[in-house]
């Protein structure tokens, strides 16, 4: 079948299971947009390419599918950069399709020409500049395969306009049929011997701790993690990306670890004699001072990306493989082994928890930001998908949400991208129309992709956007208070903030404002019941801090505010 390049793009998307794309048109991508139009393909028009990229990312994280974003050349493509890097840092499968100036114009500084291939090399798992229309179908097969296999990540395909217009024979190319010489996304190492060692370490451990990260979500290992924790009586700590892998209300859960983890969770890491890192990468926000991190523990690292092993901390035992597969083999091996319960260890953690509980701030006169999250948690009982921006609200959302399921807490962990909030909420809601999606944001993050309110309004995407509005760039202000002697340099947003209710209504989005604690619950109930997008501007305590906190590079003994 002879097809135009642009039609091959659409046919390839369909063939690889895509039924929804996000994007923004422009000159060099017009043939693809024309093909989308002719095919009646479902496309969500964002108001900025960055918004489109984050929406595709939120869609991917909520569904486990590969998100697709389309943009034009030059500024359209460069506007994707933050979105691509956000997805790259959190290992999210994404395909970005960009238009490029015609092959004959490449390198001439043509109108809206940017070397997006060169620009995105360090922030994509892989990327392509397709100069030959005959390579297009094969390129899409490779791209989807690379994006979703192994440790997932974003892949960019740059397609010059003349290639989109050229004709070629099209036959679908399956992911399995592509000749990638040595790309081995699922390492086939024999990990039986290592598993035997791990069984022995688990058998001998008196104070074991599981530390689960985003890899557990990606590999669908939630159930295996739960079975392991219960079978071997091992408490479970989470990274930001691992929240929801293990039920937060389970007595074995110690919640989030790291800089803003509960002190008891960090005491547990410090006191453990066996730390099993499962799909986690020892991020500095987790480890603090590396030489003191889990220094009493033997460290086991189960990881699909060999390059992560030994990158930050030396490990005593590394098992390279897909987490779910590894844990399922481990469970089979553990089945006949008699394992001790760890009452004393759990008792110790419970004592720490009693000694250092998470501060549940209360006030009759001012809305405490934590109280907003707690109320959302009470109203949604872990069934809502939460997406966030970056900053204080993100940490409170992580600490006080009711985490019960994987893929229900969507946040930019690695890159820490402000403005991820609204578009990721839109994407998550489109991916999971059956779910209540609540986007928690701050007044800073809200304004960074505020234009996407138009997208939510136009498509009537019923995402509930809750602003913890303290009139500050709160997390930076907190650091200024603690480490820069209260010099609030460029962090006071209050006077410049628009009226968020009026702005939202201007976009066609229903909006409420809450200023008193007594109105909070009823307003949130009203918002959640509203059949469309809603913004709730919660005026919260201005100078509330996120505690506990381990200062950057510190240890559990440096914890502030617990």
């Amino acid at each position: 079948m002879k097809l135009k390049g642009a039609d091959i793009v659409i046919e390839s998307l369909k063939f690889h299971g895509v039924d929804l794309v996000f994007g923004y048109p422009g000159g060099t991508i017009m043939p693809v947009y024309d093909a989308l139009y002719r095919a009646g393909f479902k496309h969500i028009l964002a108001r900025h390419e960055q918004g489109a990229a984050h929406a595709a990312d939120g869609y991917a994280r909520a569904t486990g599918k590969t998100g697709v974003v389309i943009a034009t050349s030059g500024p359209g493509a460069t506007n994707l950069v933050t979105g691509l890097m956000t997805a790259y840092m959190d290992s999210v499968p994404l395909i970005a399709i960009t238009g490029q100036v015609a092959t004959s114009s490449i390198g001439t500084d043509a109108f809206q020409e940017a070397d997006i291939y060169g620009i995105t090399i360090p922030i994509t798992k892989y990327n392509y500049l397709v100069k030959d229309v005959d390579r297009l179908a094969e390129t899409f097969a490779e791209a989807f395969y690379i994006a979703r296999s192994g440790r997932p990540g974003p892949v960019l395909i740059d397609i010059p306009k003349d290639v989109q217009l050229a004709m070629a024979d099209y036959a679908p190319v399956a992911e399995a049929d592509i000749p990638l010489l040595r790309y081995t996304p699922k390492p086939v190492y024999d990990f039986e011997a290592q598993l035997d060692q791990l069984v022995e370490l688990i058998r001998q451990a008196e104070r074991p701790l599981l530390y689960v990260g985003g890899g557990a979500t990606t590999s669908g290992a939630s159930e295996a993690v739960q079975r392991l924790a219960r079978m071997a009586d091992i408490p479970v700590g989470h990274t930001l990306a691992g929240l929801g892998v293990f039920p937060g209300d389970d007595p074995l859960s110690v919640g989030m670890v790291g800089m803003h983890g509960g002190r008891y969770a960090n005491e547990a890491i410090s006191g453990a004699d066996l730390l099993i890192a499962a799909g986690a990468r020892f991020d500095d926000r987790v480890t603090g001072k590396i030489s003191e991190f889990a220094k009493r523990a033997k460290i086991v690292h189960i990881e699909i990306d060999p390059a992560e092993v030994g990158k930050i901390v030396p490990t005593d035992l590394a098992i390279i493989g897909d987490l779910k597969q590894v844990l399922e083999r481990l469970l089979v091996k553990l089945e006949p082994v008699s394992l001790d319960r760890h009452e004393r260890w759990r008792g110790q953690i419970a004592d720490w928890q009693a000694q250092y509980p998470l501060v549940r701030a209360e006030s009759a006169t001012t809305i405490k930001p934590q109280a907003v999250i707690q109320t959302i948690a009470e109203l949604t009982r872990g069934e809502a998908i939460i997406t966030t921006g970056v900053g204080q609200h993100q940490m409170w959302a992580a600490m006080f949400s009711d985490h019960r399921h994987p893929r229900h807490f969507i946040s930019s962990g690695g890159l820490g991208t402000m403005g991820f909030c609204i578009p990721s909420g839109i994407g998550a809601q489109l991916g999971r129309p059956d779910k209540l999606v609540v986007t928690i944001t701050g007044d800073g993050s809200f304004q960074m992709n505020i234009q996407e309110l138009a997208t939510a309004a136009y498509y009537n995407i019923p995402v509930k956007i809750i602003i913890l509005n303290n009139g500050y760039l709160g997390m930076v202000r907190q650091w200024q208070e603690l480490f820069f002697e209260h010099r609030y340099s460029a962090t006071d947003l209050e006077d410049g903030n628009p009226d968020f209710v009026m702005v939202s209504k201007g976009f066609g989005v229903e909006a409420f404002r809450v200023t008193r604690p007594s109105e909070l619950r009823a307003t949130l109930e009203k918002a959640f019941a509203y059949p469309g997008p809603v913004v709730v501007d919660c005026r919260v305590e201005k100078e509330e801090n996120v505690f506990p906190m381990i200062p950057s590079g510190g240890t559990v003994n440096d914890t502030i505010g617990s």
Binding site: G118, I121, L180, R182, A307, G310
Partner: protein, 172 residues
């Protein structure tokens, strides 16, 4: 010109990659953004036209090189990475050296070139161009000996290397 002996250990990495337009950017970029210093880099196709061999010399300690190897291995285009041990591999570099040569110095320079098996490839009234082939130490030595005459320009190719095929039994 002074030739500094490297203080940190040098490692020669031999990397087989899929041969296409952007592959060198992908590999070289990895080194830059992870903060590994490239001393030299060479690339050329192998016996298979779809496979290129890139030879990179990096400096660093063991741990850094292990990270480099792993990060490299994970690139989609990379087929195989090996770290070549100095005494178990043939390493060669070509240098083209333009050196000032007044008639009274000429024979002295040609004598040095002869010792190092370097060829005279061009001769002007006041200068010579030599080509020298050898390992990095060999090239550094000839450059050092020519320096007093006044080196005008040097072009070095960077190291190409292959592991030895033959095995020599250890001497008791």
């Amino acid at each position: 010109m002074t030739i500094e002996e490297p203080e940190i250990k040098q490692y020669t990495l031999s990397i087989l990659v899929r041969n296409h337009a952007g592959v060198l950017s992908h590999v070289a970029g990895l080194f830059t953004r992870r903060g590994y210093n490239i001393e030299s880099i060479t690339a050329g196709i192998t016996e298979r036209s779809d496979i290129t061999r890139i030879t990179i010399v990096v400096t660093g300690d063991n741990k850094i090189v292990e990270q480099v190897l792993k990060q490299c291995q994970k690139l989609v285009d990379v087929i195989k990475v090996t770290s070549l041990k100095y005494n178990e591999s043939v390493t060669r570099e070509l240098a083209i050296i333009s050196v000032k040569a007044q008639p009274e110095n000429r024979s002295r320079i040609i004598e040095i070139a002869g010792v190092f098996n370097a060829n005279v490839v061009d001769m002007a009234e006041d200068a010579l161009i030599l080509e020298a082939v050898g390992n990095a130490r060999h090239i550094n030595s000839i450059i050092q000996l020519l320096s007093p005459f006044g080196i005008e320009d040097i072009a070095r190719t960077g190291v190409a290397a292959l592991a030895y095929r033959s095995r020599i039994a250890p001497i008791n």
